[in-house]
Subunit: 553 residues, 2 copies
Amino acid sequence: MQPILIYDTTLRDGTQGENITFTADEKLKIAKRLDEMGIQYIEGGWPGSNPRDMRFFELAKRETFANARITAFGSTRKPGIRAADDPNLNAILDSETPAAAIFGKTWPLHVTAVMENTLTENLAMIADSVAFLKERGREVIYDAEHFFDGYKDDPDYALKTLMAAFDAGADFIVLCDTNGGTLPHELESIMQSVRQALKPQTGGSRPLKLGIHSHNDCGMAAANSISAVNCGAVMVHGTINGYGERCGNADLTTIIPILCAKMNRPCIPAEKLSGLKSISRYVSETANIVPINSRPFVGRSAFAHKGGIHVSAIIKEPRAYEHMDPEQVGNQRRVLMSDLAGKSNVEYKAKEMGVDLCANGCDSKAIVAAIKQMEEEGYQFDVADGSFQIMLEKFTEQFKPLFDLESFRVTIEKDKDFPCSAHATIKISVGDSHEITAAEGLGPVSALDNALRKALGNFYPDLDTMKLVDFKVRVVDGRDGTEAKVRVFIESRDQDQIWSTIGVSEDIIEASWQALADSFQFKLAKEAARKNQESPGVHAGNEQPPAPVSCNL
Amino acid sequence: MQPILIYDTTLRDGTQGENITFTADEKLKIAKRLDEMGIQYIEGGWPGSNPRDMRFFELAKRETFANARITAFGSTRKPGIRAADDPNLNAILDSETPAAAIFGKTWPLHVTAVMENTLTENLAMIADSVAFLKERGREVIYDAEHFFDGYKDDPDYALKTLMAAFDAGADFIVLCDTNGGTLPHELESIMQSVRQALKPQTGGSRPLKLGIHSHNDCGMAAANSISAVNCGAVMVHGTINGYGERCGNADLTTIIPILCAKMNRPCIPAEKLSGLKSISRYVSETANIVPINSRPFVGRSAFAHKGGIHVSAIIKEPRAYEHMDPEQVGNQRRVLMSDLAGKSNVEYKAKEMGVDLCANGCDSKAIVAAIKQMEEEGYQFDVADGSFQIMLEKFTEQFKPLFDLESFRVTIEKDKDFPCSAHATIKISVGDSHEITAAEGLGPVSALDNALRKALGNFYPDLDTMKLVDFKVRVVDGRDGTEAKVRVFIESRDQDQIWSTIGVSEDIIEASWQALADSFQFKLAKEAARKNQESPGVHAGNEQPPAPVSCNL
């Protein structure tokens, strides 16, 4: 079977979604994850439209991507100018990406009523822009915006726009259902007509390679993508979790497993499919968007069984109520009353962290059950490796606290329109020594962080290298009748590592404290382990200057 | 065109979804709403399986339904007994519904491996059960469970089960994709084969009426339903919002507008379509499930535009980026503010909010520039319409503060492993009056919220109906060398609206305060405007009991 190329536009069209924004750094991290998954094209942004996207391409230039071609997006040239004079096309060139995607108009409504352009000039804009980028060595993906609406309105003109791009050398012609109003049976009939009509004109040495870019306004984005593949499309555009404007883009976390596991169409390497749930979560966490539990394949409920009949049947025969093995996509079966799953994950993870689950006569089954219970309460250990390790150590009685809290008090004051002020007093003990101290901060967590840092500094000078880099808060499960909880997630780093910790409580400061205390404990334990490994006579100084501390919370 | 019958199973299959439960009373209220929409069949529950469902049918007996046939659900008789002796079938009769739905096994895997039954007895169970209910005057809907999986495995046997039901008098034969693993092209090919195979046997006076019941495990439930209609199905099963086990059932809020507005297939009365968003929200509110913003047709983002190009285009021509008029389904266009947006978004949004950008001699260009600057600093107005409106009022000197902060002080204390405690003291002024008060809370923001609510309560009793429903915090990308900032986002609601506010500061409490103060200001301004519209002598009391306040931050 001919392979299907996956073209990810999470970083560009995905960020058109309500509430979805990524910093340039976050975009780069997501791009690296997509590349690891074996996705073939990553559309990084529209460099001509905003500085953030330009910065992403600057960062991307310094990186190596093993599988993916990074792609810069833009429009065809403006009317009435040469392609070489168009700032938008030049911004694409400046991005120095191997591939470029440009979109052009298909629909006379857009060309004339919206853009106030002529149909002839629009064709020239498409041809010139494609040719300009081809001459400069780019692989060109041509996005025929509003293709299906345009075709319904004026099929001849719609085909002319495609031929303008093809004749100018476009490598892929992508049919876009920009407004998301096309139904699969319409799409199939139009795609068949298109292939028929273009056959005589594209029968030369260069094949016509079609792609599909669909939106989910009718809930049909994934179905339309699959229909297009059945009609000969070789490239599928989409986003992780279907993020995108209005109802979103085609969801790659749905399309990839269907192609790989249901239709036997090679797309990403088969062994990468088990990373699907993980990348879905990574992107939703980075965007700080609550993941949809019912999302096909990767959602928390996707393989969750509630009905008693279903549960007893799947115990006998999983196929009875599961259309596929959840582990194929990195997900797991959940039985909503008595959770049986996850033991192997926990054991695997514990081994990886060097924690012996059966140490001190502990029962690994009881530990797994306790973890499940904590996850029910809102902990999420897949994004908090630091806290997970500490918790495993606590459960197995291997935890060695490097400091203890005696008490703290944080006060925040505000007068009229003046900014808030915050200060914290903290008392800790390290072994038999006590330390009480106070500090200000730009907020309560910052004051607490500064006070703790100051108190610990007398005992542990290595703390200077540690820095809080991210802090996220989310309300978990706010159903009426029960108290909502707050989940605080902290990412910290020093010169050689990044680690994440988590706290869950009804109180944001309590939750922050848990995450903060875990983060310091993790750092101190790491330094202690490092010193134990060094030969006794040699002391490792800080070779790098300490990073500036900024926890403004 | 032949009409399509809509069969709603929100009250039965919908409640198999994780976190979805309804009381018998709630079920009845939902049933009344479905009936008002003109939905033809409402499956109320499985009376043989639990007392709550039995109670629903007791309540439903006393009600009149103008359009819908209430339907009781159950399985075929148990193996080896007479239908008349089966408690489950008798419970259906006791429900006294005009229609009954029974499911039977299609797939030999289930018949033999799971149920340890024989294929012959399974056919007898189907025939006996259908005949039993038909003889007692019920309209019978036969659900062929796992039809597509069964057909792939053993087409002859699968067809035999359908014929057993048909010959016994079933009025509808519903093909179920129980595990949700079937793709539209497979479904179409199987349905064509089924129709072909059954034609000779069902060519008599009674036509074969097929239905479709699909699940969303491959994200294809709506597409499969539409494909089935294209292959001749005359009944579509689904749930409001697609609630249901695992990834849910086919979503009627997607299927109904497609049938009505896109395919011209009569289903519910055309004039009822504009109630679609309202019923979607009613069901999600009753289930207390946060609605999915990106849900096709009815989601909050379904007609939300972010990109500047899109916004300037829809102002000229809505069809440019909208596949249908949002008002057709009771939804509305929204223009989101963001750094991707341009001047046209701001002007559009201001107009929508009734704020005159040019009032008091203000320069709308300068306002747009100021908004861009705030977005650079971390504000994100596409998710904070409440704060956006207040900010526009401030820029144009139309802002009327309904309270002023004099000062606050928040203290959080923790001792060893005991939980944190938080309390806040606040002093505000309303006109010439001052109020100082204090409150505790489950965290600093909660304490502040409680104190402010208490202080304002003396002046504004309407605050009781307001509730904080979401709270999110994130650190926003500080450029190197500057302090990182914190963005706090608060979503609030009352009985008829949801609004969002935002605060940005280096201090989390300062940012929370901004968002909190905006949220209260928005609510109070709304109530003031409402009272101005009411005739002086009539005071609108709160008809609903106040919602519990839960802001545990």
